[in-house]
Symmetry: C2
Subunit: 216 residues, 2 copies
DNA sequence: GTCTATATTCAGATAGAC
DNA sequence: GTCTATCTGAATATAGAC
């Protein structure tokens, strides 16, 4: 089900941090990518090490040799960022988000992982809680800055002025954009025909930027 | 943690299908409410029948007597709608959504259940998939209508005219509103100080309605 | 460095006592 | 009508063979 990508070993040769692979990309890496696929499709709690192992024709213990525990494997998967399309800074980032939504619909993989796991992480004692809390904090900051960048200079001050609760309009807009993307992913996974992630994301970004460019 | 609602037996007397409750609201009902709380806090896959049973000082089998299986219990929990604040029709519904977001932040219970479970349901073979797919379809319809109601009559036609992909702007806005509410819930659960669900929800609704009231 | 075989814990569900 | 005691299978992790 996950063999959509034909090339098994696609990465730029001469990457900066290849850890001296005298053999070829070690088993560890195969496990990592397989685990990412399976976690994305079934969530963390609902995935067993046997599921992952079966896809590689090994036993569960084979997986555990490379990563000490299932939780460690999850952590490693989350750390494995997808650097194939680095997020640009500044106001270009907002366009990048739409592009990302577009790509996600074509390739239900990488970021489906984040949509499914982030919601799962919000449950008690989930091992990825801290990771996702930090991630959202960073994202809200970056996207908040991107929103400010897109506003006309005359609106920036208002949008970056904290209200009585200490939160800024730009930050609120950033939280909204992230929330829309996550929430849409869930709706789309359940019913792909029903929503167009990219266009709805674009609509919300446009609407929010326009809204922050008014005084009312 | 869950004793927010003081009245344990709130249902209209003379309801059409009261199954002759000679005693008082049966164990079944207690189990149902406890299960809802625990599913909300820990998700479905990560909750064991023992967890639920422990809170009632009984054994897992005690739970299974009332509901044939864990999946049946989940289904029953989902069916148990919270009728304490029925959603109004028409454009009032949008205000109701903001109110709902406000209440959710105060009482992390009922709809936290939906936020956590809906995302979990998007994973393979989850027992609640169909339930959530249907729920989202209905919600998009209702909220789409509410959006149209709020628009000026002169904009309604444009907003309800399907584009080349067969989807209407009002439907897109509806999907966006739902997505924002779900996504915010996740961010809020992970970091309650970081986002104000109600105000962000209001912001997005305002922005979308304003956006759909322009020609561009 | 890689994995098979095994131990241990805990899940969901069944049959039958109260 | 309600639940305790028990069975069966599957989960993660360990110890040690190749």
């Amino acid at each position: 089900m996950s063999e959509t990508t034909p090339a098994p070993d696609t990465r730029s040769p001469g990457g900066p941090e290849a850890p001296t692979p005298r053999k070829r990309v070690n088993r560890r890496e195969q496990i990592l990518r397989t685990a990412a696929d399976v976690f994305a499709a079934r969530g963390f709690n609902n995935t067993s090490l046997a599921d992952i192992a079966a896809m590689l024709d090994i036993t569960p213990a084979g997986v555990l040799h490379h990563f000490g525990s299932k939780t460690d494997l999850l952590t490693a998967v989350l750390e494995l960022r997808d650097d194939s399309d680095p997020a640009p800074g500044g106001s270009r980032m907002l366009d990048h988000l739409v592009t990302t939504a577009e790509r996600n619909a074509a390739r239900p993989g990488t970021t489906q992982l984040y949509a499914v796991l982030s919601a799962e992480s919000a449950t008690d004692r989930h091992p990825a809680q801290e990771w996702f809390r930090d991630r959202y904090t960073v994202l809200r900051g970056e996207i908040g800055d991107a929103v400010l960048d897109r506003l006309g200079p005359e609106h920036r001050e208002a949008a970056s002025t904290p209200g009585p609760d200490g939160r800024t309009p730009a930050g609120a807009a950033a939280a909204a954009v992230i929330a829309v993307m996550d929430g849409l992913q869930v709706q789309w996974l359940l019913d792909p025909e029903a929503v167009d992630m990219a266009s709805v994301t674009a609509l919300v970004i446009d609407a929010l930027v326009a809204r922050l460019s008014q005084e009312d």
